[in-house]
């Protein structure tokens, strides 16, 4: 009798499991309903957050960084480290700081693995966008409204996910002005001579 009961219970569980499998609400399809967006928006996490660039690469070609905590760990005594390795400016030579009037301590907490808002709130490097937003309000507003920062994936979140750029995907934290670059894909009009070889800088 107990074996029979066990069998019925197992069957019931199986049926419930199947039912859940087929009634996945994220798979339904129809005209868009205002505010009803089931899709996932992910913000791309840039590599090397909280790592000091060394201009060196490992055997796989990935950049080698030094974690801030290597020298600036909680309670670390900087004096012997500076004595051993030279002056701090040299240590941070790969960093160009061209970010308004900011200094290191404007953004970095004394625990260098963390960031610090002007009001003293600290949080990990992975929340870096929160720090950017404390000064760049209009950009944050536009980012939230979807008109600042690139993205890939689905405009229709009912049909698929979207990945959005992080602030640091386009702007260096220490030298944030957008760089620009070489124009690609020159036009070849039938009535136009070939694009000139000389670049006017």
């Amino acid at each position: 009798m107990s074996r029979l009961l066990l069998g019925i219970a197992a069957l019931a569980l199986l049926l419930v499991g199947c039912n859940q499998g087929f009634s996945d609400p994220s798979r339904e399809f129809g005209p868009p309903v205002a505010g009803k967006k089931s899709g996932v928006v992910t913000i791309h996490q840039p590599a090397g957050l909280g790592l000091l660039d060394t201009d060196r690469r490992d055997i796989h070609g990935a950049p080698i960084g030094i974690a801030c905590a290597t020298c600036h760990g909680a309670g670390a005594d900087m004096e012997p480290i500076v004595k051993e390795l030279g002056n701090p400016e040299q240590m941070h030579a790969t960093i160009t700081l061209k970010h308004g009037e900011n200094t290191c301590a404007s953004c970095h907490d004394t625990d260098r693995s963390k960031l610090r808002l002007a009001n003293g709130t600290t949080f990990p490097m992975s929340d870096a966008m929160r720090l950017c937003a404390q000064c760049h309000g209009p950009q944050k507003r536009d980012y939230d409204a979807g008109s600042h920062g690139g993205m890939t994936g689905y405009w229709d979140l009912r049909q698929g996910p979207r990945t959005r750029n992080h602030c640091l995907d386009c702007h260096s934290a220490h030298d944030p002005a957008f760089r620009g670059g070489e124009a690609v894909h020159p036009v070849k009009d039938r009535f136009m001579s070939a694009p000139s070889e000389t670049h006017h800088d």
Partner: protein
């Protein structure tokens, strides 16, 4: 004296010979079927009159044709508009740096002719402080953005009052339910009236058969969109309907390194495009012409 051949008979014979020659000449194009034209393609109905079965046959025939002519396995779909979706597109002139990555992405996504570097997007470099399109440049190269320029990418504006649709003498181009202006490449006669009518210079003509290496052909295609076009027909931006009607972003938006492009459903009040139209300084190009574009330009400040 008896003529073996009367004047009348001679004239009849000459007439018949000439007639037969003219008839043969008139039918000569039929002998060319199979090389540049195919009979099924010639007898195909207008897109809107194709039944589901007809369409299925047409798509498979076009897939085979691409395989034969370009050596590429492709999948051609007939993607229909999504109900209750009206597409809109906006571009941030404060952010665009004129790098032409969008034009490049369009070129690759839409199976454009490699020889001409064709793209549905033309980026204008305009002197700051002016809006004189006549003095804009499209053939700039080198470093962008130049300090004294701003950049305005122009592509099809998917006008609600589209001049190109009005002038088509054979109804080969029309506006779809979601706002996209499309071309039936198999119905177009290549008269180029639409090219002349478009105030945005957004339509392109296939002067030659597109050249694309098999490995570069984008196999994800649609009948009204990026399938490889035949020679002698018009083509235009379709907001990548083979992607956008499946919910994806257009290729030019994904390629933009500055996030200048905003795309979405105008009917969804929560959509990014609606936020731009509500909160930004927005204008449409050549508003005075009354074309009512679906493509908007805006500024950050």
């Amino acid at each position: 004296m008896t003529d073996f051949v009367s004047r009348r008979t001679l004239m009849k014979g000459a007439g018949a010979t000439l007639g037969a020659a003219a008839f043969a000449r008139a039918l000569a194009p039929l002998t060319e079927f199979g090389e540049t034209l195919d009979m099924q393609g010639m007898l195909q109905k207008h897109y809107k009159e194709l039944s589901t079965e007809d369409m299925h046959g047409v798509l498979r025939r076009l897939e085979e044709k691409t395989k034969e002519e370009y050596g590429a396995e492709v999948f051609i779909d007939d993607v229909r508009p999504i109900p209750d979706v009206q597409f809109g597109y906006a571009l941030n002139l404060s952010a665009c740096i004129g790098c032409r990555k969008c034009a490049e992405a369009c070129h690759e996504e839409n199976n454009h002719d490699r020889a001409t570097n064709n793209s549905y997007i033309r980026v204008l470099a305009i002197d700051k402080g002016t809006v004189d399109l006549a003095f804009s440049e499209t053939d700039y190269d080198g470093f962008v953005p130049q300090k004294d320029k701003y950049y305005m990418p122009v592509q099809c504006h998917q006008c609600d009052n589209a001049p190109c649709v009005k002038v088509c003498p054979v109804e080969a181009t029309w506006k779809e339910a979601d706002g996209i202006v499309v071309v039936d490449y198999d119905w177009c006669i290549g008269c180029r009236y639409c090219e002349a009518a478009c105030p945005y210079h957004a339509r392109r003509f296939n002067w030659s058969k597109p050249e694309i290496p098999a490995e570069e052909i984008n196999p994800n295609q649609a009948y009204l969109s990026n399938r490889v076009r035949p020679q002698g027909v018009m083509e235009k931006c379709t907001f990548c309907l083979h992607r956008t009607r499946k919910g994806q972003m257009p290729a030019c938006l994904e390629a933009c390194p500055t996030g200048s492009r905003v795309f979405g459903n105008l009917l969804d009040p929560e959509s990014e495009i609606r936020q731009v139209l509500l909160n930004k300084r927005v204008f449409v190009l050549k508003e005075d012409l009354g074309t009512q574009p679906r493509f908007f330009y805006f500024f950050d400040e």
